[in-house]
């Protein structure tokens, strides 16, 4: 089953065309990595999928339901605001800078959205949160405030926060690039666990090694277009010199 489908997405900021024509889809349980040079539009793809930006053109489909569709003039038409609200629970987004709520404890960061948005009871929200915290090794931090945590811990809390809404798909935008190399490990481990449990994910990352190990499929983007797409084996043994160069840089 296709969790997410994007058809012919185009997106411009003012005159600048950032996404030129991108189509992709993600099946249930699949892990898709997006790699590519800075400015190629990776974040913009995720932000459009998470509806933080509106596409100019293209379809956005979650679980077969259209959040936006191309009209006859080739412009994206979004559902009414009220309808769109329903889509929020299909996906979660983990930000590069965590964006935790600093005035809430770890527990409250995780329980507040289910309680406020999904009207889950406090008891159930806290039970769910504790399960997640345990899984992420943060049980003892539930009463801490974000400023009292290391970067890696903050990122794990933000993953828990997204998971608490039980999304069908999780987006990561360079989840470790604001972390010290040592803290990176913790977060990558958590993502690996999620992959094992067949969580559907799209991951924008610079960690080639990690993308290689984890992904079912990798997309290489450049200049707002998909330049190459395939399994890790295909991508890492490609003949495309652009991709080769790019991957080579990171091999060290």
């Amino acid at each position: 089953m296709k969790i997410l489908e994007i058809n012919h997405m185009k997106k411009s900021f003012d005159k600048l065309e950032v996404i030129k024509d991108i189509s992709l889809s993600v099946n249930e349980g699949e892990v898709l990595s997006i790699i590519g040079p800075s400015g190629s539009g990776k974040s913009t793809v995720l932000r459009c999928a998470a509806m933080l930006e509106k596409m100019n053109s293209g379809d956005l489909i979650y679980l077969g339901e259209y959040a936006a569709h191309n009209n006859t003039e080739g412009k994206s038409v979004y559902m009414a605001k009220k309808e769109l609200r329903r889509f929020h629970k299909y996906y979660g987004l983990v930000f590069q800078n965590f964006n935790l709520f600093p005035h809430y404890t770890v527990l409250k960061n995780i329980t507040d959205a289910p309680m406020t948005v999904d009207k889950v009871s406090k008891k159930e929200a806290e039970e769910r949160a504790m399960v997640l915290l345990k899984k992420l090794g943060l049980e003892d931090k539930k009463e801490a405030y974000p400023y009292q945590l290391s970067g890696g811990q903050q990122q794990r809390v933000s993953i828990a926060r997204a998971l608490a809404l039980q999304p069908k798909i999780l987006f990561f935008d360079e989840p470790t690039s604001a972390l010290d190399p040592e803290l990176t490990g913790e977060v990558l481990k958590v993502i690996k666990e999620l992959a094992k449990e067949k969580m559907t994910m799209i991951i924008v990352t610079h960690e080639m090694q990690f993308a290689k190990e984890l992904s079912d499929r990798i997309i290489f983007m450049e200049n707002g277009k998909i330049q190459e797409e395939g399994t890790p084996e295909q991508i890492f043994s490609t003949e495309n010199t652009r991709v080769k160069d790019f991957i080579g840089k990171f091999a060290g």
């Binding site: 929020h88 979660g92 964006n99 709520f101 005035h103 959205a113 809404l165």
Partner: protein, 216 residues
């Protein structure tokens, strides 16, 4: 007049001072928030109006505003003023004036909030109202507390302007006693009252600030 009577008299005036102070805060703090929404609104007309309102309130003397609020209804609309309107007018003018200052403070606080907080809330499915009241406002309040404290201390001293509308608060009492006793001592005592009141206000605000310091 002996010292005890003088303190008693000043004390009476002080109650009026505190009344003006409290009522102004109670009404202008929320009103300021509403005005700041107008100031940041996407509606160009609303934005222009509130911008002008704020600039007039901050750009003209409060004394004049007191006069306009009190006498305006009579001079402009020919309305007969009730006696109780005197005090109401003082509070009204103070509230209108301070709300303008608070609006600008809120605005600076709201505009300084990182975009990431809005985006995180949006992706989690919070409505705009929930985002503002649960996520943004609590953080804004923490950020603007020092500026609010500053304005509050100015307010303590501004209360003395109420006499323009014949509301006899502490400073006016002091001046009257000073006149009949032919000494400026009562003014100095009033100064002391202000100082102590301000210290108390500053202390109270510091307590609030400290309470908000449970996170960073």
């Amino acid at each position: 007049m002996n010292i005890a009577v003088m303190f008693l008299e000043l004390g009476k005036g002080f109650i009026t001072t505190v009344e003006i102070f409290m009522l102004t805060l109670i009404f202008s703090l929320p009103l300021g928030l509403i005005i700041s929404f107008g100031r940041m609104s996407k509606n160009c007309i609303l934005r222009t109006i509130t911008k002008f309102y704020i600039s007039v309130m901050r750009g003209t003397p409060l004394m004049l505003q007191l006069i306009v609020v009190y006498f305006g209804p009579f001079y402009v609309f020919g309305l007969q003023l009730s006696r109780s309107y005197r005090f109401i007018a003082v509070i009204l003018a103070f509230v209108l004036n301070y709300a303008a200052y608070f609006a600008e403070i809120y605005r600076s606080g709201i505009e300084s909030m990182p975009k990431g907080q809005y985006e995180a809330a949006k992706v989690l499915g919070y409505t705009k109202g929930q985002t503002f009241f649960k996520i943004i406002l609590p953080q804004v309040i923490k950020r603007v507390m020092p500026s609010i404290t500053n304005e509050t201390i100015t307010l303590v001293k501004d209360t003395s302007l109420a006499f323009v509308l014949s509301i006899v608060e502490m400073f006016t009492t002091a001046k009257q006693i000073a006149a009949s006793e032919t000494t400026i001592m009562p003014l100095m005592v009033a100064g002391l009252f202000y100082y102590i009141f301000n210290l108390a206000v500053a202390l109270g605000m510091e307590l609030i600030e400290r309470k908000l310091n449970y996170y960073r």
